[in-house]
Amino acid sequence: MTLLTLELFYQLCGALLAVVAWRIARDASHPRRWGSAAFWSLLAVVFLFGRQLPPVVTGYIVLALVGLAALKQVERSRADGAPREVRLAEAVRLGNRIFVPALLIPLTAVMGTLILGRLRTGSFALVDPKQVTLVSLSLGALLALAWALRVSGAPLRAPVAEGGRLLQVLGWALILPQLLAALGGVFAQAGVGQVVAEIVGRALPAQQPFVAVVAYCAGMALFTMCLGNAFAAFAVITGGIGLPLIVVQHHGNPAIMAAIGMLSGYCGTLLTPMAANFNLVPALLLELPDRNAVIKAQAPIALAVLAANIVLMGACVYRF
């Protein structure tokens, strides 16, 4: 029996999304009132009842969410945030007290991760250790919200109104990471990875030890770019290229191969719009007009690190 489960926080998320949808439905000045309200309420349903609904129903809800977005029915409201003068005046009024809630988030997340998972008596646990990071982060957000309301003296509807505005700035891109993860799952079920590994293995003269290293590192980066997820690429590319060529054929060190191979995959993560939660959502959060601005800023780093990884693995994997 566990007291604080992720499911609880999903419900909270769902409730918030439902309120956002409700506020849009009541806003006559909203440019896409009903389409946007439908989008946020359907998403609320997935968060509130995701575990109870049969997966096929959720699948069709996802189809509807995508349809609403593709038909340009999901827009942001016309409401503006507070002007800079107001925010500056508040910054002067509240001083450094405003940092306390902001720092409470990482502090709670860290302390919670270290402590909460260990609190248990018999079969009764406060938090499932597997979920403790996310639960602690969520608790941090709630504590910070309570403290921020106290410090600012704002009414409870203020964070809902302002937060709803910010969520609409993110818009449909909010669900892109989840949809991409689902696509990765479909790829895995269909066996796409094995096909790619086979093609790479056949196309390259991997009898050369160093070529095998290049093929493995570049394969990790490229396949991660396709899937948007280095973890998913790791099993496929290591099973298809790394193990048979570097370890079995050339007697390379598997620990070195795996560690540097995974980090080569991360270079791919830095380069791909498929890793939406790292690259696209931040661009929207920071209100950048170019969605690929984060990827462009990262590209030189990613390529430099990838090149270094290839050299490093080539120099070490057959020696230690």
Partner: protein, 232 residues
């Protein structure tokens, strides 16, 4: 080979600038059909994975109300004011310091960062504030460049520190993979061999941070020369 149709759909869809959600869903449907699944089976897969991955969206949604409230009450402006007092601060140095803190803390298993909880409210405003303190008002494209680099600083610090800690995702996943192959590979060996790349990534970040500072100076100078005071 036909199973790769999904990758083709993605490449074409992105190139033709269709709605990204639509492209991703279409790629999944095409791949599923090519692998012989029925439409309902594909929808079931999408539904199941979408529910399982709610944890990806959770931090953003839960963070947004407190974030928006704090911003309404001047959090970003205050962060700028604070950084103006630090004489040595530049945008690049602020970001570099953040990457360093992020890399070291996560390699010890402490996850203090994130785009919604750190970059938007604190790191990006501080980097912008440091640049404003030095150069005055910044052109819009310069502000955007600083923000994009702030997001990059978070990702680089996060990715290239995480692998060094043995008790989290990557190292455990690698061990799990080797176990399925009936191989014994030590977690410490894998963690230690992540360290050289961590240093390389930080060196690359030093290079990028310096370039960013030079770029800010050049763009502000160009904006001032072309008249209008650079307040674009």
């Amino acid at each position: 080979m036909i199973k790769l149709v999904g990758l083709l759909v993605i490449a074409l869809g992105f190139a033709l600038r269709f709605n990204t959600l639509l492209v991703v869903l279409a790629a999944g449907i095409a791949t599923g059909l090519a692998a012989g699944m029925s439409f309902n089976e594909i929808m079931t897969l999408f539904g199941r994975y979408f529910v399982e991955t709610r944890y990806m969206t959770l931090p953003v949604v839960l963070m947004v109300p407190v974030l928006a409230l704090l911003e309404r009450h001047g959090l970003q402006e205050r962060a700028e004011m604070l950084i103006r007092r630090a004489q040595a601060a530049t945008a690049g140095r602020v970001l570099l310091l953040y990457t360093a803190v992020r890399q070291v803390s996560i390699s010890l298993g402490v996850n203090v960062g994130g785009h919604p909880q750190m970059v938007r409210p604190l790191v990006a405003p501080m980097a912008e504030g440091a640049a404003r303190a030095r150069h005055g008002e910044l052109p819009a494209k310069t502000v955007q460049a600083i923000r994009a680099h702030a997001a990059a600083a978070e990702n680089v610090g996060n990715f290239f520190g995480e692998d060094i800690f043995v008790a989290v995702g990557a190292v455990l996943l690698m061990r799990g993979f080797f176990e399925t192959q009936k191989m014994e590979v030590g977690v410490w060996a894998m963690a230690l061999w992540g360290i050289p790349t961590a240093f390389v990534a930080f060196a690359a970040m030093i290079w990028r941070a310096r370039r960013l500072d030079r770029r800010i100076a050049a763009e502000v100078a160009a904006a001032k020369q072309s008249g209008g005071g650079g307040g674009a």
